[in-house]
Symmetry: C2
Subunit: 214 residues, 2 copies
DNA sequence: CGGTCAAGTCTTGAATACAAGATTGAATAC
DNA sequence: GTATTCAATCTTGTATTCAAGACTTGACCG
């Protein structure tokens, strides 16, 4: 599928924000006609990854302060509500599931396996959504996350943060298991706010990838 | 624009859920070729209004329990966070804005102007988002709302509910103005839950417009 | 030397023609 | 009368061609 390939190229920053891509180019690269590419462009635009300027050009969307804030806000709101519900509903078996997630993540950290670590990060949040009784909430979190994921590819040395992220998860898990809503929300807020500093750092380091502020 | 026209047709239930539409038909109706229609279909699909079944048919999406729940959850989560922030930040001028909204809405109620009433409902929620310092949150609420808006077209006699909705808004406004977060959240929850009963009623009355449950 | 205008080229948008899969219907065999 | 099979038609997917707007580059004129 063309969409997936392009999405992967954009998410992995092989296609940099602001770089222009044209339908004929991509069509030739995939050995198809312009129509499928056009279709893919349209979908990627609605995913917020491309910006189609009619009759001018299509370019990989730059990061914008507004969109980052918006995505951040939605994720925060949803995740906090999820944590509240999870804390209210968590039973013993659920607690074990969270612990198992954490154990696996610690193992991935020990092996330095960043890919597995990232996957387990998803699994943890997905598990919390399941415990909260709102599995579909993870779809929302996931969709919002994808919009800013590529930004984090610019962050250097993710390894440093991995222990901290695990600590965050542990604290969240404890609060959820104990049924302490507000503590879980507090821990979740801290966890999310880790990203803010990273983004600010990236913004000064790679201003070219950000949209001009008005 | 073709998308808007079709969207309006779907939202207003002129095109019923489950009814099939084909690209050539719509193209002929608008006097254009299949490509613009195809483009429009693609966009409407990503808006969650159409379901394109490759090489089979394209149909107006039926309501699904899962999507309604998801949309409901996101709106609730976002709206509650907005109310919390609004309660914390509300100053005198903001309170006046809410009061003005309410006054206009009461006037619309008196005149029985349902269209204006609906618009003012949007304005109220938008105002709250503005007070909370997260205007973009309204985009999210709006987008989620559009997914289920057409469902409410099936509800009979909206007039009965208008006074109750105004009371809800008044209670929300009071709590926000007084800075009482939890009271605002509680009022917001009640406000949102009004829809649930309506949807349940519609579900039994118009089961044909809902997807089969698995 | 500089500015302006025009032609050429590059972009996406739209229209048309062709292809492939799915469904439906009728016709035929049993 | 019923079941099965084949063909016609309807669906969306893809390719190709034409069209229209915008940018670039060159030449020509002041």
């Amino acid at each position: 599928m063309i969409v997936e390939r392009l999405q992967e190229d954009i998410s992995s920053m092989r296609l940099m924000p602001g770089s222009r891509i044209s339908e004929p180019d991509i069509a030739a690269r995939f050995g198809v006609s312009r129509q499928p590419v056009r279709d893919a462009f349209s979908r990627l635009e609605s995913m917020g990854l491309l910006r189609i300027r009619p009759r001018k050009a299509t370019e990989v969307k730059r990061f914008s302060r507004g969109e980052i804030e918006k995505s951040r806000f939605v994720r925060a709101a949803v995740e906090m509500e999820v944590l509240r519900r999870a804390a209210r509903r968590c039973v013993a078996a659920d607690g074990h599931e969270l612990d198992a997630c954490l154990a696996l993540q610690r193992k991935a950290l020990a092996k330095g396996d960043q890919l597995a670590f990232a996957q387990l990060d998803y699994d943890f949040h997905r598990a919390v959504c399941g415990i909260a009784g709102v599995p579909f909430a993870f779809d929302v979190i996931h969709a919002e996350k994808k919009k800013v994921d590529r930004l984090c590819m610019l962050a250097l040395s993710r390894e440093d943060r991995m222990p901290q992220l695990i600590d965050d998860h542990a604290r969240i898990a404890e609060a959820v298991k104990a049924g302490r809503e507000e503590e879980a929300v507090e821990a979740g807020t801290v966890h999310l706010s880790r990203l803010d500093a990273t983004i600010e750092a990236i913004k000064v380091a790679s201003a070219a990838y950000f949209e001009d502020e008005d």
